[in-house]
Every structure is written in structure tokens, then in C-alpha cells.
Amino acid sequence: MRHHIILRVVAKLSIPFIMLYALYVQFHGDFGPGGGFQAGVIFGAAFILYALIFGLDNALKVAPMNVVTFFISIGLLLYAGVGVAALFYGGQFLDYGVLASDSVSGQHLGILLVELGVGITVAAVMIAIFFTFADRGR
């Protein structure tokens, strides 16, 4: 679809905004609707759009498969790592309250990191699923 000039231009224009919107959904998640799952899917959609318009090979140059799998595990590790960190600070597993000096900001930090982990994993998984399917049988 590379020769469709309209598609290319519109995609190029919109991809940065899609990503920005994903980041908004991600980090505004503790004040309004949003969170890691949604943000991850939106972020992944940006890559998928790119791959659809500019071809899988170009997309793979941006996000090679092993980088994607790397992010899948990093996100999950971040999530679980926050939980374990809470253990070391003397709380229960996933008890964010102990992460900072006072309980409220601790909760804040904790949920931010956990959702970030979720977002990374979801985005990477979405990209990976698309790449794998698109790559098959070529």
C-alpha cells in the first residue's frame, strides 16, 4: 500500500499523535479512564498501522522481533519487580504503600510503575502477534 500517497501522508501524520494519545491514556490512568491495557493496545496500533502502510520489512527495521520479545518480558518483570520490591520494603506483595515515605505517594508510584509495566507488555504483545501472523507464509 506504499504507493497510496494519501494513506502514507495521513499515516505519517497520525502515528505520532496515536503514540502521544497512548502515553496520555497511560499516564493519566490514575486520574481518569485509562491504564496500561488500553494504552498498550493504542501504542501497539501505531506500529501495526505503520506496518500496514509501509510494509512489514520496514516495520521490522524499527522494531525487530527480538526487541519486541525483550519488551514483553521487561514489562512483566517491571510489574512483578514492583511487587517484590514491596516485599523488601517490608510490605505484602504488591503493597505499594511502602514504596515511598508516605503511603499515598507510595501508592501513586506503585500503580504508575505497575501500569507502565502492563502497558509495555501489552503493546509489545500486540505488535508481536501482528508481526508473527503477517510474517507467516510469506
Partner: protein, 122 residues
């Protein structure tokens, strides 16, 4: 009448569930089965969401300026649960479809009856 109209969300749920279930059972095409499975799951998502709805309630977000006055809001918990269930559903679908692709590569078909015929041969 009230039994039917008053519980319309349940009727939709039951209809979708049976529809999905029927597709899973009756269709021999493996991709169609996955689609049926998706409908089947989606019906359950609807069930959860609809029973969490409180009439007249808003989204469960702290509204600035309301000043702590009581606000009616829908039960957020089913949404959270279903978010998880949707993720599970996506994973299932992805895995199911990838299996279908592998099956297609191994057998050259995705029709159930042809596959079972080929399995009988050796």
C-alpha cells in the same frame, strides 16, 4: 411482558451465547469456530457489564467540585474483571488462530472433517 422486556439484557446474553455456541459446535471450519468462540465470550462480557450498570449512575470517577456529596455511579468492579477477561479472550483468539495457521501448514486444510479423515489414514 415484563419478564421479557425487563430482562432484555439477559435475553441478549442468552441469544449471543447460544449463537456462539452453535457456531462452535456446528461449523467445521476452524476459523469459524474461533469466531463462534469469540461471540460466545463476548456474550459473557455483556452479561457482566450489564449487571454492573446502575440506572442513572455515572462513571466511577471523582468529580471535582462535587465536594464529597454522594454521587450515584455504576459498579466499576465488573468492568475491571471484564477487562481482564477481554485480555484473556484476545490471547485465546491469537493462540487459536496461530494454531489454525499451523494446522493449515501441516494438513493443507482447515476443514475439520478433512483433517480427521487424514488423521485416520496412517
Amino acid at each position: 411482558m415484563d419478564f421479557f422486556v425487563g430482562h432484555y439484557n439477559y435475553w441478549i446474553f442468552v441469544f449471543l451465547m447460544m449463537l456462539g455456541f452453535y457456531v462452535v459446535v456446528a461449523r467445521g471450519n476452524l476459523v469459524k469456530k474461533i469466531i463462534g468462540l469469540n461471540i460466545f465470550q463476548a456474550s459473557v462480557f455483556l452479561l457482566y457489564i450489564s449487571i454492573g450498570k446502575v440506572f442513572g449512575g455515572t462513571a466511577p470517577i471523582i468529580i471535582e467540585g462535587a465536594g464529597g456529596s454522594p454521587v450515584t455511579y455504576s459498579n466499576p468492579l465488573p468492568h475491571v474483571l471484564i477487562l481482564t477477561a477481554i485480555v484473556v479472550g484476545v490471547a485465546t483468539t491469537a493462540l487459536g488462530l496461530s494454531l489454525v495457521i499451523r494446522i493449515n501448514e501441516a494438513y493443507g486444510t482447515i476443514e475439520e472433517d478433512e483433517i480427521s479423515e487424514m488423521d485416520l489414514e496412517p
